[in-house]
């Protein structure tokens, strides 16, 4: 199979998921509603107080991780609940399915962050000192969240207590990205050279690459078992 054909088939899975999501807003509504209501609740409870960069970074990452946890399991759970996963198993290679689902999850999280991060900056009156490092920390964080979330979602899709199991399995796997992302974000909001932030951004990139590659290698066993 040529690489063009492989990419075209993978993109077909992404397009199918995006089309189905746009029609049902199954995951998007849940994730956006959670993110926006959390943002409003925190900004109101602060009542004008100005938290430091460490608190702001922690809040942003808690928001990102829990929003991702609300939306990421849907991609596979939906296929199992609607009894459609068999078509994918019979028609596409596991690598195509993983990449297609990963791309959809990444798109979903990026879309949510595109809406919530500007609102976060406005509501909490935050101006990143190092905007490039700030954007990269968020973007690469999304990449790591999507890579790990896609694999864990496939693992829990056929289990009974999917919601709690997803959180229990995903959290240890996401710990490095949460810690690193929080530090990178904090440093990008703090005055200084930003050297620490750029160092953490490199760690985030490495994490995303390692988890994506690991997911790609392990997915076949999860999917076919």
């Amino acid at each position: 199979m040529s690489s063009a054909s492989w990419i075209s088939r993978t993109l077909a899975i992404l397009a199918k998921d995006a089309r189905a999501e746009l029609r049902t807003r199954y995951a998007l509504n849940a994730v956006l509603l959670f993110a926006l209501s959390s943002l409003v609740a925190v900004s109101m409870s602060l009542a004008g107080a100005r938290p430091g960069p460490d608190m702001l970074a922690a809040f942003l990452w808690i928001l990102m991780v829990f929003a991702a946890m609300a939306g990421l399991p849907r991609s596979f759970v939906h296929e199992e609940e609607r009894q459609t996963s068999g078509w994918l198993k019979l028609s596409a290679s596991p690598a195509m399915v993983y990449c297609g689902k990963f791309a959809f999850n990444l798109l979903l999280i990026l879309l949510v962050e595109l809406v919530t991060v500007p609102i976060f900056l406005v509501l909490l009156n935050v101006t990143p000192v190092h905007p490039a490092a700030f954007c990269l920390a968020i973007g690469l964080g999304c990449l790591g969240l999507a890579a790990a979330g896609t694999l864990v979602a496939a693992i829990v899709a056929r289990t009974q207590n999917r919601g709690s199991l997803f959180a229990a399995l995903a959290l240890p796997l996401l710990l490095p990205v949460i810690v690193t992302g929080t530090i990178a974000t904090r440093e990008s909001l703090s005055p200084g050279t930003g050297a620490v932030a750029w160092g953490e951004v490199r760690v985030l990139l490495s994490y995303a690459v390692v988890v994506f590659t690991g997911g790609l290698l392990l997915f076949e066993f999860v999917w076919n078992d």
């Binding site: 089309r19 609607r82 459609t84 068999g86 195509m96």
Partner: protein, 192 residues
Amino acid sequence: MTDVSHKFDGRTILAGLSLTLTPGDVMVVTGANGAGKSTLLRIAAGLLKPTSGGAERGGGMTGYAAPDLQPWSELSARENLDFLARIRGCADAGREAIKWLEAAGFPAVHLPTPAATLSTGQRQRLKLAMAWLGRPTLLILDEPGSNLDDEGRSLVARLIGEARCDGAVLLATNDSAEAALGGRHLELRVLD
């Protein structure tokens, strides 16, 4: 399929079953409810790993239609076929399947309404078309005539006739008319 055994919740469903299908074969599997017909078909399709033994499917494509496999309810009938055709790498097959559905008296294939709004019989026809899309070398059908009217049942007969030209058919049914379509028969019995 060689020496396949399968247990579920400690109950033996299949024990030491071996069978081989060659192109042109239409094997009909019959048996009482719970005898393991659907389990056998899922193993043959590669959707279920047996407790012991193994199933090999050669190099071709496998088509599978069963009650536990549904079209994507948010997509229209046509979108379901187009999507499957794309991921199977046969773009022309989508158009072919649509023509086949039209000829089979299913003009609703062109409606933009989601598959969830189709009647049970129309959804069954769509599932048969999805299974047959790209002319698989092994077509596995589990109770294909269920929820179909007389016209739909004749469609199943036509489908099996065409599919045996391209490869082998494995069919599970308790319907005597459908069972008569088979050249080989396998009767499963409830073991435990």
